[in-house]
């Protein structure tokens, strides 16, 4: 068995290449594609043949300079219309970190795509045009990032070149945005003045803004911490699959395969299986071929328990000392992602971790207007891109955490049982976090980045 210290030492060696998932959001002409293009280009992540293809198409269309947006618009329809329709995932790396970028469209009607991109993001970059400042769409992006509990938000104040690189313009926008997003409960906001077109503060520090002493966008992406939120929470282990070889070599092996959704699990720990409530003790943890005595989110492992109890896909294993309650009445915020509406009385399926059960929509108490965060009471139904509160009664109990405590065990899908369409993305519990305790120190003078 590998000792804990060995594992930790081994991981420390590899810590320099962690993985950061982030999403971008911005209105149509805020220069999001240019920022993404600049980030890829200046971090030398665009290869020659890709750049040649972009240059060839740009020239064919009679454009003077290569259109960096062509690097990210992958579909025929997107290139024809010059807009981004769907989320695309980009990959790039620096010496310090690997990045997965969910490049999400900015159109109002694609709120669901930002939700999709933000659902797995550790960080969201919200872009504003320095000339326009915080607009409705900016507030909408901040609200979606707050709803989805994205741990880190970067405000990229773009087109600083068009406002004479003035500190006062940046400071006013940063202050307004920070106040708004902090009220929504966004835990960490970092504002960076940039020009994506000119390359200021994207990868390289700007010579035009010596008043700014903070990181460039890339430096911030390289150093922001990841996954601390997952391991600080109580352990949750949704059972995916039961491994029973029944072979001559392993006649009695019975392992519960799954990915640790949050927290840390240790051999010897007393655990409870939900929804049955049966208890046992972790006898062994098999981490993909290696026996270990500790494992943590988001590792995929196989647990062996001391007692031979009935456990199957859909069950949740949690520490007995800190197991969630089960419920058949789910109150949640949902983002409606399908074209067909979701109405009160609808019979749906709810997919929560590895468990899918029947459910009925009992109530839709309110629909949220993202622009001003006002609540529209009893809308009767939700349509595409709506965000609203729902009350759902499930046919079987679910071991559901509040989304605020765990993005993984507090989230669910509503699915149309007739055709399998994903109807809505659900987040159990309160919509927005309350304002952070550690408030801004207002008495400090000037900007302290």
């Amino acid at each position: 068995m590998t000792s804990t210290t060995d594992q930790v030492a081994h991981l420390a060696d590899l810590a320099a290449t962690t993985l950061l998932r982030f999403a971008t959001a911005g209105s149509v002409d805020d220069g999001k594609s240019t920022l993404v293009g600049r980030l890829l280009h200046d971090s030398k992540s665009v290869l020659t043949d890709q750049m040649e293809a972009v240059e060839a198409v740009s020239a064919q269309r009679g454009q003077d300079a290569p259109d960096l947006a062509l690097l990210t618009d992958g579909l025929r329809a997107e290139r024809e219309q010059g807009i981004t329709i769907d989320v695309a995932y980009r990959y790039f790396a620096t010496a310090r970190r690997r990045f997965i970028l969910a490049d999400t469209p900015g159109h109002v009607q694609y709120t669901r795509n930002m939700v999709t991109g933000a659902s797995t993001a550790d960080l969201a970059v919200v872009l504003v045009d320095a000339r326009n400042g915080v607009i409705e769409q900016t507030r909408r992006h901040a609200a979606v990032a707050a709803l989805l509990r994205v741990p880190h938000v970067v405000l990229a104040v773009n087109k600083m070149d068009l406002v004479g690189y003035q500190e006062s313009v940046f400071a006013a926008i940063a202050e307004e945005f920070t106040a708004y997003a902090s009220d929504l409960g966004v835990p960490e906001i970092t504002a960076i003045p940039i020009s994506a077109l000119a390359g200021d503060n994207v990868v390289d520090a700007s010579a035009n803004m010596d008043w700014y002493g903070g990181p460039t966008v890339l430096e911030h992406l390289e150093t922001v911490p990841v996954s601390h939120d997952l391991t600080a929470c109580p352990a949750r282990f949704p059972v995916q699959y039961v491994i029973r070889p029944q072979s001559a070599e392993h006649p009695d092996y019975r392992g519960y395969a799954g990915q640790i959704a949050s927290g840390v699990l240790r051999v010897g720990e007393a655990v409870t299986v939900l929804p049955s409530g049966r208890t046992s003790v972790i006898e062994g943890i098999d981490a993909l071929g290696e026996s270990v005595d500790i494992a943590w989110a988001p590792q995929s492992v196989t647990l062996r328990l001391k007692d031979d109890i009935d456990i199957s896909r859909g069950d949740l294993i949690a520490p007995s000392a800190n197991a969630p309650a089960t419920t058949q009445d789910v109150e949640a915020t949902v983002c409606h992602v399908a074209d067909q509406p979701l109405a009160v009385g609808a019979r749906v399926l709810i997919k929560h971790t590895t468990r899918t059960v029947k459910a009925i929509v009992k109530e839709i108490p309110s629909r949220l207007t993202l622009d001003d965060l006002s609540q529209h009471p009893n809308p009767g139904q939700l349509v595409a891109n709506d965000i609203g509160r729902v009350v759902v009664r499930t046919a079987e109990p679910l071991a559901l955490d509040a989304y605020a405590d765990s993005r993984r065990t507090g989230s669910f899908l509503l699915i149309d049982p007739a055709d399998g369409t994903t109807l809505a993305a659900g987040m159990a519990g309160e919509s927005f976090a309350s304002k952070a305790d550690t408030t801004v120190q207002a008495d400090e003078e000037g900007w302290d980045f």
Binding site: D49, Y89, D286
Partner: protein
């Protein structure tokens, strides 16, 4: 005032960090287990290329010490590298797996497909693939496709629903939220599953090195008789090259991808070991497909168009 609230960060948060390879491995294993838990008859597309080899390796780890609960399917163009076929059969035997083969040659012989004038059989794979899926009633089909390969693939979901004609409609994809994959489908439809979606070419190679995975020899530098066509070094063979105007020569090369011999180009290379290959890829200024795939150069949307028809 400060714009950073609540959380002062420090990179050494992290006895509980995962390396990027561990994170990718963990995610891929989760995807394999989701499919095993939710589908009746999944199959892994296995060509003997590095991505499908890594897929199989991950599947072996995901279900150990039990066997992989899936069969394999190879769409055989008839223009294979012999070393790769040998590797395929040896691997299948070693792990006691079951292999289905869908043969492009049989379709041509039966008059159901016609050889293209350019001799490439890559686009011809779609029909045998989709018919094998329908006739053998597979409901989940694992592919080794990665989003970093190509811009149409960058739009691909991890779980990609295909209709009864195996078609991909990029505008009607299900949003994919958190790690909650929705694999529901009607009879006759199936789901393509891409566990390596978030991997890059370099990740694949680093993982192969870390895990000590054996690969077919053609991935490493060796001398081979090749000839130049459309800027690609192609291997001379029975599939119809070289033409009279094309001169074969012996070069030190290796392959970055493995596919149909008629359209898979070799790259000049002296990288004979895994470390040398990784070093070479890390500094390469060409994408994997740009360097080695003739068929993607047919048009700007070649991959999107083929995927719409049912290609993987």
């Amino acid at each position: 005032m400060t714009t950073t609230v609540a959380h002062v960060h420090d990179e050494t948060d992290a006895p509980y960090a995962l390396s990027h390879l561990d994170a990718l491995e963990s995610e891929a294993v989760h995807i394999f287990r989701e499919v095993a838990g939710e589908f009746e008859k999944p199959v892994i597309l296995f060509s003997g290329g590095k991505d499908s080899i890594v897929m199989l390796h991950l599947a072996l780890k995901a279900f150990a010490p039990a066997p992989v609960p899936f069969t394999l399917l190879h769409v055989d163009t008839g223009h294979n590298f012999p070393e790769v076929l040998e590797y395929r059969d040896r691997t299948v035997a070693e792990h006691g797996l079951r292999l289905h083969v869908a043969s492009v040659q049989e379709y041509i012989d039966a008059g159901k497909l016609r050889e293209r004038p350019d001799g490439t059989r890559n686009p011809l794979q779609t029909v045998p693939l989709t018919e094998a899926i329908q006739s053998l009633k597979f409901d989940a089909v694992f592919g080794g496709g990665r989003r970093d390969e190509e811009k149409a693939r960058a739009k691909e979901r991890v779980f990609s629903l295909r209709d009864e004609f195996s078609q991909w409609d990029p505008r009607r994809q299900r949003p994919e939220l958190w790690q909650l994959y929705n694999g529901r489908h009607a009879p006759g439809e199936h789901v393509r599953v891409f566990p390596l979606s978030n991997w890059t070419e370099l990740d694949v190679w680093q993982y192969i090195a870390r895990e000590g995975i054996e690969l077919p020899e053609i991935y490493f530098a060796h001398e081979r008789e090749v000839f130049l066509r459309n800027g690609m070094w192609l291997t001379a063979g029975e599939w119809g090259g070289p033409k009279e105007s094309e001169t074969p020569e012996t070069r030190l090369i290796r392959y970055r991808t493995v596919g149909d011999m008629s359209c898979t180009g070799a790259v000049d290379s002296d990288a004979a070991t895994l470390d040398a290959v990784i070093a070479e890829i890390a500094v390469s200024r060409l994408t994997e497909r740009g360097a080695t795939r003739a068929d993607d150069k047919m048009s700007e949307a070649a991959m999107e168009d083929r995927k719409r028809e049912g290609y993987f």
